[in-house]
């Protein structure tokens, strides 16, 4: 079996990056909503966001295939078995982690900063832009890093929705799996495993850096 190591790494990085970018506005919106507003169904929404975290990724993939597959409500987008399917899978598996991190990042901002800003004449949207968002930013960056790392390691949903097409949808994880089935694939598999370890470690280090920065910005201990 022919496996291009560089291709696999690049496909994973691109899918994780685009998936995280797509998830950013959704995570910020839902995270802020859950952190700052009370509304009917809030607890239900918060609980529903946990479901994809505990659902077997293959099941998530199956559900995504039902949504995006031929005959599905979003079938016209022609997503399955293209690179876009890797992005969609990355988006859905990383979103819950991102929303939970964003919620924590917004909750860590003392709402009295926003109240002081209002008494100084700042309307709600301007306060979000000038106070809430900059204060939550390191925490949000930590969340984005975590989401990116999760997307990078994605396997189950991708294999169902995107298949395992060389140069198109064969991500790092899928390539390792393919190589394990190949008699002389050990060397290439080792390279990919090493790449995976390096990328994951970098993500976790970056996450820790952002988390510390968040505490520093909010003048919290530790």
């Amino acid at each position: 079996m022919n496996v291009d190591v560089t291709d696999a790494i690049l496909i994973s990085l691109r899918a994780a990056l685009f998936g995280t970018l797509l998830a950013t506005p959704v995570a910020l919106g839902l995270g802020h909503l859950l952190a700052r507003r009370t509304f009917p169904g809030r607890s239900l929404l918060a609980a529903a966001l946990f479901v994809p975290l505990v659902l077997p990724p293959v099941v998530t993939g199956y559900l995504l295939l039902a949504l995006f597959g031929r005959g599905g409500p979003l079938g016209f987008l022609d997503v399955p078995f293209h690179f876009a399917a890797c992005v969609v899978a990355a988006f859905f598996v990383s979103l819950p982690l991102f929303v939970l991190s964003a919620r924590q990042a917004f909750e860590a901002v003392d709402p009295r900063y926003e109240e002081v800003a209002a008494t100084l004449g700042s309307p709600r949207a301007a306060t979000f832009r000038r106070v809430t968002l900059p204060l939550a930013l390191p925490g949000l960056a930590a969340g984005a890093t975590l989401a990116f790392a999760r997307a990078l390691g994605e396997f189950g949903a991708t294999v169902v929705l995107a298949g395992n097409l060389e140069g198109e949808t064969r991500t790092l994880s899928l390539a390792v799996y393919a190589l394990l089935e190949t008699p002389d694939g050990d060397d290439a598999a080792r390279t990919l495993v090493l790449a995976s370890l390096v990328l994951s470690t970098l993500s976790v280090v970056l996450y820790e850096v952002f988390r510390r920065r968040a505490r520093l910005r909010l003048e919290l201990p530790g």
């Binding site: 109240e115 800003a117 209002a118 008494t119 100084l120 900059p134 204060l135 003048e219």
Partner: protein, 204 residues
């Protein structure tokens, strides 16, 4: 000039706080937990209340209207200053200011000129309180809500600062509500003093 008649909850009890004689510089004294901070927050529109609030010729609260906080121009100086930690002193001071015309004057009044480029985490408690005062003053408020504003300042600075602040507010027609339990602060800044006891304002 401020007058109000507010029904609100202080902790777990219902309260009615009435200032029947309009005042320009009002001090509210009372023990911790009596509701001084809650009153200031209600005047800013940050704590739910019904009734009537009028500052100058503007009605902020009555049966028909409840002007949102950002349109009230009631600048709040919380006890713990709450400077925006991501902004330096200059940006904090100018946060609500329409322009930087008065920055130098206010920085001099509050002895902040040498601190303009510092971040809040590098300021002492007293410096933070002075920046919070400057930030509120520069927002050109109609009402200044001061919650123990001089608590972290040494006694030697308090009087001069209170007098400077009073002169500035008088010159610009800014009403002041001061919550404090320091007698000297109250004497230096306020013209009328009320006690907050058992959910009522009592003239003193």
């Amino acid at each position: 000039m401020i007058r109000f008649d507010l029904q609100l909850r202080i902790g777990t009890r219902d309260a009615r706080l009435t200032l029947d004689v309009p005042a320009t510089r009002l001090a509210v004294v009372g023990p911790s937990g009596s509701g001084k901070t809650t009153l200031l927050r209600a005047l800013a529109g940050l704590h739910a209340a019904t009734g009537h609030v009028q500052v100058g010729d503007e009605v902020w609260l009555d049966e028909r209207r409840n002007v949102p906080t950002h349109q009230r121009r009631a600048a709040w100086v919380p006890q713990d200053a709450l400077l925006f930690p991501h902004l330096d002193v200059r940006a904090n001071l100018l946060f609500g200011a329409p322009n930087d015309d008065e920055l130098r004057e206010v920085a001099e009044l509050l002895a902040l000129t040498s601190l303009l480029d510092r971040r809040p985490r590098h300021l002492s408690g007293g410096e933070r309180q002075r920046v919070a005062l400057g930030r509120a003053v520069l927002a050109r408020p109609k009402l200044l809500l001061l919650d123990e504003p001089f608590a972290a300042l040494p006694a030697s600075q308090r009087l001069a600062l209170a007098e400077g602040l009073r002169a500035r507010c008088d010159a610009r027609g800014v009403a002041v509500v001061l919550a404090s339990h320091d007698r000297d602060d109250v004497r230096a800044l306020a013209e009328v003093r009320y006690g907050l006891e058992d959910g009522r304002l009592v003239g003193a």
